[in-house]
Subunit: 360 residues, 2 copies
């Protein structure tokens, strides 16, 4: 599987679209707002009346959250400017990055409406800065921008995606992700792939960012030291269970199931910090681990089924073909419903956020 | 008609797509190559070992020509570098701009393949520069980039499009463009709309370009001083004839026909130079007018019908609705076939190219 060609959130705005099933991601953006405001304040003060700010959102996807991030960042900058008593807004260049198969057309049609709204001031004395948007297709595991051209980098809910399914010595039999029953070599392969990918991400950003530039990264992660802890494997385990049943019933070939693995790794905060320190170009300002509590409605099987479909459908489609997709997600939603109705089955979503500064 | 929402070349890669019907535009790009190489050489020498070059193609559309322009510019830079004996390639940021409804998804999927090819050197000692691509949705009659951020701006076959259909005192009865039978007020409205739009274009670019930055613009234009000369109105006159016949047959309502006008103006080289001099931020390095000779095959009615459809279909679709589109272009192609088979009906395509430098 060529992850760059296959990985994307479901496009459009239909029932299974990422656009309509990204409420958890939205919640996270509002939770990390204080961390972002802190980083932006430090950046802004350090730059001493900046005339230009160049910002990038990496793995921006395609939907309302894409411009929500931009909007929050731009409003924060204006708030900071007013607080510091600066008269003139800096110009902002905002880069929206995702893989080439992301639905950029949909984003671009929203951008012009968004820019019109930006010109309407939020409060007296506020005049939102002139803001230029630009889409950047490509993997954030490669260079995307000119040397020393970025002041602020943001990424949310993207860094857990790996650049490829790890190469494994042993088959990850019956699983599609690391699990309690995965061979140790599989778990090691996943961890090492995360290390390689995150290191490459950091190296590229280190070249692209100005010294003193700030970066706030939020990834799905885990609290536990154990990479197979329930909190990160639960939803994939249930999808594996669904697929295994379809293998037993002859609806999916066993070798197809054996060769399918999700290119994702949910790191602990220690694993994140370790790589940042190892790479050496950034100082960590803070690392936080938090749990995203889902509303009762969001945590219901039907809604969780839609959320997972928006995220995983393109991967399954490319590997198993179109004919079984409806069946997989109908069954998976039922499995989710059954499990989530049990009293001790609390659905958790753990995020790791790290805020850092490019060294001088 | 909101031109920003409606104007675009036909997307996809089907029979009526712009992608498959843009041979004339391709020819023009190769014709102006010497002018571009001259401008780039002057830019490069003026910058004294540049580490970074930021380039933009405005009105890039979506198809093979989009990356052809980028490819020519990047190869030219490398040629100049080798000639001057510089060891290190500058990094290039390449912006691809068009209106928000342009098909950027198709371009972005081509970009990653294109970037891979770039890493394969063309000749010994050549190592093509690292090049980062970015899409910019928006009208080039507005600001699109940060202050003083561009070194080189290119635009081909786009500037003849106006930001809106000119407001007219009188109906342009029986016509869809300026024509021998248009009232003088209509011709004046078209000319003034071109002046306003091109002036705005120049003002925006003057703010966005560094001093010493170069700009090469090629637009469909005319040799004659008369804005209604046959060379620029011919193809639209024949489309008007087609539509008028459909009005007579009751297939199109007369008021629909009366309210349809093409938002395009084909300037003379004097009109182009006048606006550049009036705006005042640029020095003109050269202006050229040339005729694009079509191959016999290209000049046939069927192929010309497809070319015109790729360009005009979205405009007609938005005004007249989908139901008559097939009929319009079937008839138009026949009208074109009849006219182009006449001995004295030589199809001409006149371009005006202006190369200029941003004053210090």
């Amino acid at each position: 599987m060529d992850v760059i060609e296959v990985l994307r959130m479901n496009g459009g705005d239909g029932d299974s679209s990422y656009s309509n099933n990204s409420f958890i991601q939205r919640k996270v953006i509002s939770m990390i707002k204080p961390i972002i405001e802190d980083a932006l304040t430090n950046l802004y003060c350090g730059m001493n009346f900046p005339k230009t700010l160049v910002m990038a959102d990496l793995g921006c996807s395609s939907g309302p959250n894409t411009l929500l991030v931009a909007s929050e960042l731009i409003k924060s900058i204006d708030k900071i400017r007013l607080k510091l008593g600066h008269d003139e807004s800096p110009e902002i260049q905002f880069y929206l990055n995702d893989l080439p198969h992301n639905d950029f057309n949909t984003i671009f049609r929203l951008v012009s409406k968004f820019q019109k709204n930006l010109t309407q001031p939020m409060e007296p004395n506020s005049s939102l800065p002139p803001c230029y948007f630009s889409g950047v297709p490509g993997s954030f595991h490669t260079r995307l921008f000119l040397n020393k051209s970025l002041h602020f980098v943001h990424s949310s809910y993207s860094l857990m995606w790996l650049s490829q399914v790890p190469e494994m010595e042993n088959t990850n039999k019956g699983n599609i992700y690391i699990s309690k029953t995965s061979p140790p070599s599989v778990i090691k392969a996943y961890h090492e792939q995360f290390q390689r990918d995150f290191l490459m991400f950091l190296k590229c950003r280190a070249e692209e960012m100005v010294s003193g530039g700030r970066m706030v990264l939020t990834t799905l992660g885990r609290r536990s030291d154990d990479p197979c802890s329930k909190e990160c494997c639960y939803l994939w385990d249930l999808l594996a269970e669904t697929l295994n049943n379809m293998v037993v019933e002859g609806l999916i070939k066993e070798e197809k199931m054996d060769s399918f693995n999700i290119p994702q790794y949910l790191p602990s905060h220690k694993e994140v910090s370790n790589e940042v320190n190892k790479e050496g170009s950034f100082v960590i300002d803070c690392v936080e681990v938090f749990e995203v509590k889902l509303s009762e409605e969001d945590a219901q099987g039907t809604n969780m089924g839609k959320t997972m479909r928006a995220v995983a459908e393109p991967l399954l489609l490319s590997h198993f073909g179109e004919s079984i997709i409806e069946e997989v997600f109908t069954r998976y939603t039922n499995v989710l419903k059954n499990h989530l109705s049990l009293k001790d089955s609390k659905l958790v979503n753990v995020c790791v956020t790290v805020s850092m500064t490019r060294k001088g």
